[in-house]
């Protein structure tokens, strides 16, 4: 799925990277509010769904090598977050859905989890 299709699916506003949305194809998705989790488990090329709206999000995704961010559930995304996403060229989407809904919709469209399985 391209980021453009994902933006449509999640009813998301594009805050950064609009010109690249058609070219970015997403295969793997991870959802986390803990940036340490993202650092630990994020793999290059994944899309992050998060409830966090701070500049930490684009910065972490950039360091891990993710291809984009969907911020869910938050009424606003901080201006500083958008600015940093622009500098780091991390596509940034803002969806009104809850984390559960957003993840459910993405999963239903066949997107895959990142490759971490831990023993429960």
């Amino acid at each position: 799925m391209t980021l453009r299709e994902i933006a449509d699916l999640l009813d998301a506003k594009v805050l950064c990277g609009d010109e690249r949305l058609d070219n970015v194809v997403v295969e793997y998705v991870a959802a986390a509010d803990m940036m340490s989790d993202v650092l630990a488990f994020g793999q290059p090329g994944f899309l992050l769904v998060t409830g966090l709206n701070t500049p930490q999000v684009p910065r972490t995704v950039n360091i891990v090598g993710g291809i984009g961010v969907v911020v869910v559930r938050k009424p606003v995304v901080l201006e500083s977050t958008v600015e940093l996403a622009q500098v780091l060229e991390v596509p940034l989407l803002h969806s009104p859905l809850t984390m559960f809904e957003a993840c459910g919709k993405l999963y239903a469209r066949g997107l895959k989890p990142i490759n971490v399985r831990v023993k429960a």
Binding site: M35, S36, D37, L39, A40, L52, T54, Q56, R59, I63
Partner: protein
Amino acid sequence: MSESRLETLEGMKLSNVFLDSLMQIMNHLKIEEVMSKNVHVLTPEKSMWHAKELMRLKKVSGIPIVNREGKLVGIVSIEDIILALEGNYINEPIEKHMTRNVVCLKPSDNLKKAVECFERYGYGRFPVTDEKGRVVGIVAKEDVLKGLLQWFSTVYTHDERRSDVLESEYFYKSLLTGEPLDKRGADFVMEIGYTDINMAGVVAARLKEFLISKGMDEKLVRRITIATYEAEANVVIHSGSNGVVYCFLGQDAIRVRVEDYGKGIENVDLAMREGFSTAPDHIRELGFGAGMGLPNMKRFSDKMVIVSEGGKGVVVEMLFYRDET
């Protein structure tokens, strides 16, 4: 040896240390961090009189001249204006009298390069252009001075804070090899000089740029930056002080050392445990404090040693083998 002679020698030693650290700062501070981004430009068909007026109103001493695409084509300095007034051609177009072949700097150049340019060419200012030749800033001597002063003010505050913990011997030797460590030999040094958690990661991001500029393998760079990011976040969240990140590029391995001068870790074993965290709630709300910091650093490095005592700062050293990625 007379007393005054001795003083001079001491003074020289001190100034050498000072010069060394000055050189290091100049190597690491980038032009984009000190340049004025608010640049006043004119197009070549305007008159020299326009340039004079703009200089007077904006109190600047040089005006980059750009074409319609914003590309730099020349520069007019106050000296050119004086000549124009003397030669009575102040109403002629800039195009006829501007200096072409302008020496410019890139945003990614370091301060050392700027100082070399000031010395070599004797100009008072240099336009800063992006890869397409468009003007994105301008650097005058004052900007360099201001950038350095700003840097020193942060170094000074951390020097004050670290005085309590400087006696600890582990600040002076490698944790991994036990050898004495010459930190001035580091290939990358950057201060964690802020306390705002929202800035956590800026040093790691800069280190990433630096490592990539050295042509290093992408996966290796990723491991190093993630681990450094975690260490940096720890300094900001827990130390209550400032810190420094050093990176040494070895033949077989990259070594990253992160030091802080803060309150230290009471129980290192406990802190190493996954999920254990002492971070307060407001930090957790920002996505940190999952208790993954130290475990992540261990996971992404090939060797890691951490030394700390309550009240005595923390030193972390991590080794990343070049061929293990």
